[in-house]
């Protein structure tokens, strides 16, 4: 795959991603809180974040909970709370039941490959699987947690086949397929 020369460091553009695939993209940041009102006050006022209660059917806490799960726009986003301009990502937040949890990023995995195969490839390159190998499902919940070779936890997720590919976030380097 060729990389066009550019005038500034590193004198080339990033490599092309010609496949209809979001594998490897860091897609959401998951954060925890201990006090919802305090958390909300901080992020609304310091950063201007816009948040709504994540539905229970999408993994959120029961509706109306005093410790809601949240989906948060940190920048321009559209009605599903996916970003609509490039360069930033949105956040999910949840109540930390026990001790406070560190922020964790979620990366997307191949959609057209069994999750077991993708995870086995990651394990072969030094990752550690946290918990059991996940079972494949058609819903929104096919995912796992891994640690990279330096011990960083990354949640990984396989999108169900109901993605329409009309969503702004599903773009890829189409011209390279010509």
């Amino acid at each position: 795959m060729s990389n066009k020369a550019t005038d500034t460091y590193p004198y080339r553009a990033p490599k092309k991603y010609p496949n209809k695939d979001l594998h490897g993209r860091m897609r959401i940041l998951s954060m925890a809180y201990k006090d919802f009102k305090r958390f909300q006050k901080f992020y609304v006022n310091v950063f201007g974040w816009d948040m709504f209660e994540l539905p229970e059917s999408a993994g959120g806490a029961p509706q109306g909970s005093e410790t809601p799960s949240l989906l948060i726009a940190t920048g321009p986003s559209y009605e599903t709370y996916e970003g609509v301009v490039p360069g930033h990502l949105n956040v999910s937040a949840h109540y930390a039941e026990g001790e406070m949890e560190d922020p964790v990023f979620c990366a997307e995995l191949h959609m057209d490959r069994p999750i077991k195969e993708t995870l086995e490839d990651m394990l072969a390159h030094g990752a550690v699987l946290l918990g059991d190998m996940p079972k494949e499902s058609e819903g929104w919940s096919t995912g796992a947690a891994i640690k990279d070779p330096s011990g960083n936890r990354i949640n990984v997720w396989k999108c169900p086949s109901s993605r329409t590919w009309e969503e702004p976030e599903t773009g890829y380097d189409k011209e390279e397929q010509e």
Binding site: P10, A13, P14, K15, Y17, L22, G24, R25, M26, L29, M31, A32, R38, F39, Q40, K41, V44, N45, V46, F47, G48, D50, F52, E53, E56, S57, A58, Q63, P68, A73, T74, G75, P76, S77, Y78, E79, T80, G83, V84, V85, P86, G87, H88, L89, M100, D102, P103, A107, M122, G126, A127, E138, D148, P149, S150, N152, S161, S162, E169, G171
Partner: protein, 227 residues
């Protein structure tokens, strides 16, 4: 029988067996009575029901967490956007190999990096010539030698702000802490803060020479019209 359901409130389409249709919309939590249904014809792209998306309400209470269209973010400001991840690394080659080979990243040392223990910049998906993503809703980030982190508690992400000093004042006013005042790295200005819950992050001041015509600096808060 499999069907496509489209939520009248938020416009979200999804396809499931009729017997497994959720009681609430997985996107906005509206009840099932708001679902419009149509037959499954083998591909969700063949659906014929499309719903106009809701629009932002400029008078909305920012503390109201019921479903709403995301607000309009202000023009000429990147304030508050989560822009980069920062992961510590121990073994350079092992970590780089993992992300390049199993996550398909494109990784380069930053311009002024230490050759032995470089700060690495990582493209995780499609990007433009300036090494910013060309597609929404994902980010690029850094792999940083663990020993080069500035604070004991490691910041793992970067939020861009209009002005560091003003953000530090607000951080304290709303229950957070300043862990490291303004400093420079690779020609950029940063500080490190802790939020009201103990989450630690870098804040990065928008560079003075930012090009407000670049895709990542735009502020459109709704899907572009189909052409």
């Amino acid at each position: 029988m499999k069907k496509i359901y489209t939520c009248f409130v938020c416009g979200f389409p999804f396809a499931v067996e009729e017997s497994e249709c959720p009681e609430h919309c997985p996107s906005c939590n509206s009840t099932k009575e708001y679902f419009l249904e149509e037959p499954w014809r083998g591909d969700i792209r063949l659906r014929r029901i499309h719903v106009d998306p809701p629009l932002p309400d400029p008078d909305r209470d920012p503390y109201d967490i019921s479903y709403h269209a995301p607000k309009d973010f202000p023009p000429h400001s990147m304030h508050g956007r989560v822009r980069r991840f920062v992961f510590p690394y121990d073994d350079l080659e092992e970590t780089k190999d993992f992300f390049e080979k199993s996550m398909d990243w494109d990784i380069i040392p930053t311009k002024h990096s230490d050759a032995q223990r470089p700060l690495l910049f990582c493209a995780t998906g499609p990007g433009n010539d300036n090494w910013e993503p060309s597609v929404p809703s994902f980010i690029y980030g850094y792999l940083k030698p663990r020993e080069k982190f500035e604070t004991e508690k490691l910041p793992t992400f970067i939020v861009e702000v209009d002005n560091i000093e003003e953000t530090l004042v607000k951080t304290v006013e709303f229950g957070g802490k300043v862990l490291k005042e303004r400093f420079f790295e690779e020609e950029n200005q940063y500080a490190i803060i802790e939020d009201s819950e103990g989450n630690v992050m870098y804040i990065w001041q928008t560079p003075d020479d930012v090009d407000w015509t670049r895709p990542e600096t735009q502020y459109l808060s709704r899907r572009p019209e189909k052409k």
